[in-house]
Symmetry: C2
Subunit: 397 residues, 2 copies
């Protein structure tokens, strides 16, 4: 089977950026421990760690499975690792010396492993590399954007299927399952990655009628009921009825790269109140994307979204019920679903060419339902390009 | 919609066990931060932390969403939390004092959050509570076992579907998607939980022919090809052909509780070599389960499995190729897929009534395929009960 490997030039450019950042921060090296960062900087997601010193000479230390890591990775030095205890001696042997100050992703490394690395690396100062790595990852290469476009194409197929399978009385989770199967058949890996502690991301947010107004733990305008207290988000066993707003927020992952999007459906005619609200979310999206280009600040976009929502008379419903509004209208996305940039208050940094983010203006009517649009965009030289080509019109079946 | 809440008496018994363990270890309290442990000890998985002092008077501090946490949880004191910085003052206010020594799950708490809690709780000794909590969770109540039986029933339906949908030329991932959809329709939440760092668990291990012999990062006899280097496990785009062993290792999660099982299929007749090997794995399972009852040690079971495999002439193929054999033949399972007990060398503790574990004797023929059986069992007073009732015979379609 042909495999879609990350191009060697992408890996080399990423490593070069990391080496520059390491130098700028006054560290001697970075040790990559998080599997998603490992994929990004080495090309493989096998059980391994990547040592990145100031100068060239990265070392990929592989516990399992060495042959596969070697095949997938553009890193030249691939050596076997049987226990984390060996890491300093392997670094000393292959790099010549153990670093004095080293960055590690402390936002994901469990405390127990951190304390263990502190013992193993006695005398080495360990600092948090997570914001440095997130800053590098926020700009996507043409290769990365191509993967996301492919995910967007799968999304178009999946949303196109809804009108053929949606039937009165089917449960939200049944519809979600059919869409998951369709997405998998086209290469969706049925797993979305999210970096934040205690957080999951997943494809099957199918919310119909009142479940669209149910809140949950996630920082999103609507949570949905989910299947049980052990999975209190997304599709539930509620049966889908006529004239309800059906909101489908379905993320797709192709070759590790994710897109996020939302479309609206209804069995029969959707009541005017929801139709109007849905049109409002599309107007809000248009107002925001008209501003979106390199140099525009993220919180400027955020404020534009809110200003437009208020102007259209939707302040009460926009981005959640009054006391539970989300702090963002959009979020960066790529290998993980919670990347930079955040389209939120306080995020005053500018959009840059190559950034990719999802915008999700949504309206919540507690006990009645939710409506909204979501697309994933890429920042070009002078505008944004939509990576999620699925039809945006409300589909009434 | 009726919701399946964890019974209040289960929550009270679990908290009593945790209080006893806290006292025994000389701590003043435990602070539950991991969402799966939070579900276990409080009944809710909302964004919250649970403070469990030596004496009664647990405090559930909820960031979002308070109303839902209150409804789902049997804990009496439910109070709002706007920032982790408030935790010590909330504890002082509602408990009367801040603990001197407190257990937290350091095996999952990210280092960054650990360092933040150390600052917030200046002067408090923070110790790792993870093994204490795992020890409590390893014995399941009748309620928990009932959830796992329900997951096993869904598994029976899913495996029963294979013979109706399996067709030559369909890809592994297409078949996996159909099974995922069928499982979801019956209440599977399409997400398995695993505690270990950098580890995922998921339902769609569909391996046909040579992909059954492909290794990957996971500590399992076979990894499969997966869809790409970014998801290098499980089903792939390989097309399924006749006379290949088709191994389907499909975990189900119902109401948070998981089972793990494997069954074998073939399009047309399966060559004798694989049939014999599959029968051998079933003989190994029988030899192991005949020993399994309270008091039998886990490594005794492990050795029995290996002894049987050797006796049948399968030493080379059992549990992976010679240099990459797994260290276990079985693993505990419940809310997470990597619980106690481990049926492995060095695990010399005894089985106890109420433990639940999966046994997975498997054979790997590199470049040719894999065969094996897997069931989830519960330890009764004098034997084990199988929780996964799907037909065990090889199905030739």
């Amino acid at each position: 089977m042909e495999q879609n490997y990350i191009p060697a030039e992408d890996i080399e450019r990423r490593l070069q950026q990391l080496r520059s950042a390491v130098a700028k921060r006054g560290w001697d090296a970075a040790l990559i421990v998080h599997n998603v960062d490992l994929l990004y900087f080495s090309g493989t997601m096998q059980n391994a760690l990547l040592f990145v010193p100031l100068d060239k000479g990265e070392i990929l230390m592989v516990k399992k499975y060495g042959e596969r890591a070697q095949r997938e990775s553009a890193v030249e030095q691939v050596i076997p690792l049987s226990s984390w205890n060996e890491i300093p001696s392997l670094i000393a042997e292959h790099h010549g010396r153990v670093p004095k100050k080293m960055g590690i992703e402390l936002d994901v490394l469990p405390a127990k492993e951190y304390l263990r690395l502190q013992e193993i690396f006695a005398g080495v100062q360990i600092v948090d590399s997570s914001s440095t790595i997130k800053a590098i990852r926020k700009i996507k290469s043409p290769y990365e954007i191509a993967q996301m476009k492919k995910a967007g194409e799968i999304g178009k197929i999946v949303y196109g299927e809804v009108q053929h399978v949606l039937k009165e009385g089917m449960t939200e989770i049944e519809l979600a399952g059919i869409l998951v199967a369709e997405a998998m058949r086209h290469g969706h890996q049925n797993y979305l990655r999210m970096r934040a502690f205690n957080s999951y991301a997943f494809s099957w947010h199918v919310l119909s009628g009142y479940t669209g107004g149910i809140l949950s733990y996630i920082d999103a305008p609507m949570g949905g009921m989910g299947l049980s207290p052990s999975f209190p988000v997304g599709a539930s066993q509620k049966q889908i009825r006529t004239h309800e707003p059906i909101l489908i927020d379905f993320g797709i992952c192709y070759n590790g790269y994710q897109i996020d999007e939302t479309r609206m459906f209804c069995l029969g005619e959707l009541p005017k109140k929801f139709k109007d609200a849905y049109l409002a979310t599309r107007q809000i999206e248009d107002a925001m994307t008209a501003l979106a280009k390199p140099g525009a600040s993220c919180h400027e976009l955020f404020r534009k979204g809110w200003e437009t929502a208020r102007g259209l008379g939707y302040e009460e419903y926009f981005m959640g019920p009054p006391e539970y509004k989300t702090r963002f209208i959009g979020h960066g996305i790529g290998l993980e679903i919670d990347e930079y940039p955040f389209i939120a208050e306080g995020h005053d940094y500018p959009l840059e060419q190559g950034m990719t983010f999802a915008l999700e203006p949504k309206m919540v009517f507690p006990a009645e339902g939710a409506v909204g649009i979501e697309n994933t965009f890429c920042v070009l030289e002078d505008r944004v390009e939509r990576l999620t080509p699925a039809e945006e019109e409300l589909i009434e079946v």
